[in-house]
């Protein structure tokens, strides 16, 4: 048994690396990695720009160059120039982000520096105590979870974690969970129900992991059970789509009483790339697919699939974690407060009615 566990661990690591390789070509076209000078001491400039942010990247790097010059030479006349350029960059940012296309939003939603579940937990949850394992087979770090205190109340938090550097991305399998992750989520949700703790779920996944081990252990069943468990709970669940809400892998923990989405997050039945290659039979049609499938927070609010959109700071949540997470915390607190004093039956009924109503009044 032990031997088998070791073997499986090995294959999991291998496949994670494979996934890294597989994603490599994707990465070139999605947020392009442009190393812009090492993080400065003042305010770390973002290291990765989305493809559509080229003009902004150029302006910001020019500003950085000039700043470096001022430091070195101390010429007076450039400070005005710096100010002018900074304002120009800011204006370009506001302009760009006020009219992002669905595909551009997908790029923002997948931005590697976007706040992930553990970033949110770190800021919002006091005394966070991480819990591990599904009690059947393994601990799957693609889904993290635990108990803690959120603005005075004890809660259960469960979320996909994508990781923030190569090492942690591999550890968390890029946020793509195995069945063990969903079974852990079920265990934690049932515990929350037992101890009357509201559940907060943070959704950020490209989808459940497609692999041999995942299928072998019943990926489909694990997702179905997790959705089933969400629907059965007598405690309120509030879900936040942080970045990517990828299909079944997302809905498994996003079947909630209140669904909140960050302004530039996406939520979809299949990735734009997947839809392009399956429906259009042409992988280059992803922009068209992103638009046609209605994946943005604004579209989903219009379809009554989600309840609320949390505005992101100018230039996206990845430019200012602190204020994005604060706004998110306020929205979650307000959503949870709506269920204070409600009985388990009422909470469950609200959730059932909410989902049954979807699509009926379009």
């Amino acid at each position: 048994m032990r031997r088998r566990a070791l073997l499986v661990k090995h294959t999991v690591t291998l496949s994670a690396q494979d996934a890294l390789n597989a994603e490599a070509p994707l990465d070139q076209s999605t947020p392009s990695t442009q190393p812009v000078s090492p993080p400065s001491a003042v305010r770390a400039p973002i290291r990765t720009y989305c493809t559509f942010e080229k003009p902004i990247a150029e302006l910001e790097s020019k500003v950085n160059e000039l700043k470096a010059l001022t430091k070195a030479g101390g010429a007076v006349s450039i400070t005005d120039e710096i100010k002018r350029l900074e304002q120009k960059a800011k204006a370009a940012l506001v302009e760009t982000y006020s009219k992002l296309t669905p595909w551009q939003k997908a790029e923002v939603a997948r931005h590697p520096e976007r706040p992930h579940s553990l970033d949110v937990i770190k800021v919002l949850i006091e005394d966070f105590t991480q819990l591990a394992g599904d009690r059947y087979f393994a601990e799957d770090a693609a889904i993290v979870g635990g108990i803690g205190r959120f603005r005075g109340r004890s809660v259960m938090v469960i979320g996909h974690e994508k990781g923030s550097d190569t090492e942690s991305r591999i550890k968390h399998n890029f946020g793509m969970a195995m069945p063990d992750g969903y079974r852990k989520a079920v265990r934690l949700m049932e515990m929350a129900d037992k101890f009357n703790l509201p559940v907060i779920t943070l959704v950020d996944t490209a989808g459940a992991y497609p692999g041999i081990a995942a299928e072998e252990r019943g990926q489909a069943e694990a997702i179905a059970r997790s959705t089933d468990c969400c629907l059965a709970l007598g405690v309120p669940i509030v879900s936040v789509i942080l970045g990517e809400g990828g299909s079944g892998g997302a809905i498994a923990i996003a079947t909630a009483n209140r669904i909140i989405m960050l302004e530039h997050a996406i939520y979809s039945v299949i990735s734009p790339e997947g839809a392009a290659s399956i429906i259009w039979r042409d992988a280059t049609k992803r922009e068209e697919a992103a638009t046609a499938m209605k994946i943005t927070a604004q579209d989903l609010e219009h379809l009554n699939v989600i309840d609320e959109i949390v505005k992101e700071p100018v230039g996206g949540a990845h430019r200012d974690h602190a204020s994005a997470i604060r706004a998110l915390g306020d929205a979650v607190a307000a959503a949870l407060a709506e269920f204070d004093g409600k009985t388990p039956a009422e909470v469950r009924k609200q959730r059932h009615d909410r989902f049954l109503e979807i699509g009926r009044s379009l």
Binding site: S15, D18, N21, A22, A208, P210, G211, I212, A214, E215, E216, R217, G218, Q219, A220, E221, I223, A224, R225, T227, D228, L231, A232, G234, S247, G248, I251, A252, T255, Y267, S268, V269, I270, A275, I278, I279, W280, K285, E288, A289, A292, M293, K294, I295, L303, V305, T343, P344, A345, E346, R348, K349, H352, D353, F355, L356, I358, G359, R360, L362
Partner: protein, 347 residues
């Protein structure tokens, strides 16, 4: 001019009319053994190739006809849903694709629901038609599954579902994904009513369908060698870049990995379903009788209890689809109400 009529007319007709899938008098090649079978022989053999045992896919109407006694059943009407909610178009408009699928299958959408008798027992069944846009799960199919399950609750009957699907209907975007939790709510109603939910997994059952109602049955039965999976073999091959093991994601593989209860040959399917439903319903009937007895007794005291089900079984009215509780009058037992001391409710 006769030669023109004989030559040109059929050609034009051929261009204008769509060909039927299996035209009369055609021989069909078995993909497994290469054996030629006359289509009438195949139909007579429940679409199983006599030599190789290869199970051909069946349409929803064929499924229902083979399930119910004497091929008699009543189709249950499904509430209409918004067609093409996203006004979706790729190279073609989704609305046109839908129209074609409806014309080709003579169905409104991928799932048909029906009630009738199985071995004399009332059952409700849903059958998914793979020929209708790959049996994909959209709003209409989701609504059909929900309606079928709620009808079973209403009748106090077992629910048998034949799954066959390529997954979610991508042309309906997020609304197709939402059918996963929506159908699961109906399953919870079946569960609360403690009625059997039997899933027959047929080739192929994949994606969002497997990851929701197809994997939440009390009993999972698969037809031999059916592809049953979450992520399809091609997706996995692309991700991990290696050859998949022989028989991977087939019925027998799922049986070995604990995901299904049995693999049943189509010739034995009907009798297996009848046996399973009857065995489970025997217990349900006994409970109904007992509940009718104690229910009548308790009602006379003006109190009503759900037996010991604690927090989950609260019988608060759930959702607008009113679902009558299992009806005690269906059992033939008549009970004299006798006064019973009500137990103190546990808190």
């Amino acid at each position: 001019m006769n030669w023109i009529n004989n030559f040109v007319r059929p050609k034009i007709r051929g261009l204008l009319t769509t060909k039927r899938e299996i035209p009369d008098g055609q021989w069909i090649t078995c993909p497994e053994s290469g054996q030629m079978v006359f289509h009438k022989d195949l139909e007579a053999n429940q679409f199983v190739v006599p030599g190789s045992g290869y199970h051909w896919r069946m349409t929803a109407t064929q499924r229902l006809a083979h399930l119910f006694d004497g091929a008699e059943y009543d189709l249950i009407a499904v509430p209409s849903v918004t067609q093409d909610p996203l006004k979706f178009r790729d190279q073609r408009r989704y609305a046109d694709r839908l129209k074609d699928a409806k014309a080709a299958t003579e169905q409104d959408d991928a799932v048909l629901i029906a009630e009738g008798k199985l071995d004399g027992m009332t059952v409700v069944s849903a059958a998914q038609n793979f020929n209708f846009m790959a049996g994909s799960l959209g709003m209409a199919a989701g609504e059909a599954v929900i309606t079928g399950m709620l009808r079973a609750v209403e009748l106090g009957a077992p629910f048998i579902l034949f799954a066959a699907s390529g997954g979610a209907r991508m042309q309906e975007g997020i609304l197709s994904l939402m059918q996963m939790p929506r159908t699961t709510i109906a399953i919870q109603r079946l569960r609360e009513a403690k009625l059997p939910y039997i899933v027959v997994l047929t080739d192929p059952t994949t994606g969002g369908v497997t990851a929701s109602y197809a994997m939440l049955g009390d009993i999972h039965i698969a037809e031999p060698n059916a592809l049953i999976c979450f992520a399809g073999p091609r997706v996995i091959e692309q991700t991990i870049r290696e050859q998949l093991p022989e028989g991977f994601q087939r019925s027998e593989y799922l049986l070995a990995h604990g995901m299904i209860d049995m693999v049943v040959h189509r010739h034995k399917l009907r009798e297996t379903l009848a046996r399973v439903a009857r065995l489970l319903m025997a217990g349900v009937e006994l409970r109904r009788a007992a509940e009718a007895k104690s229910g009548a007794a308790k009602k006379s005291n003006g109190k009503f209890y759900i037996n010991g089900s604690g927090q989950t079984g609260v019988s608060a009215p759930e959702a607008p689809l009113s679902v009558p509780a299992p009806q005690p009058e269906r059992t033939s037992l008549t009970v004299q109400p006798k006064p019973v001391q009500p137990k103190a409710p546990r808190t």
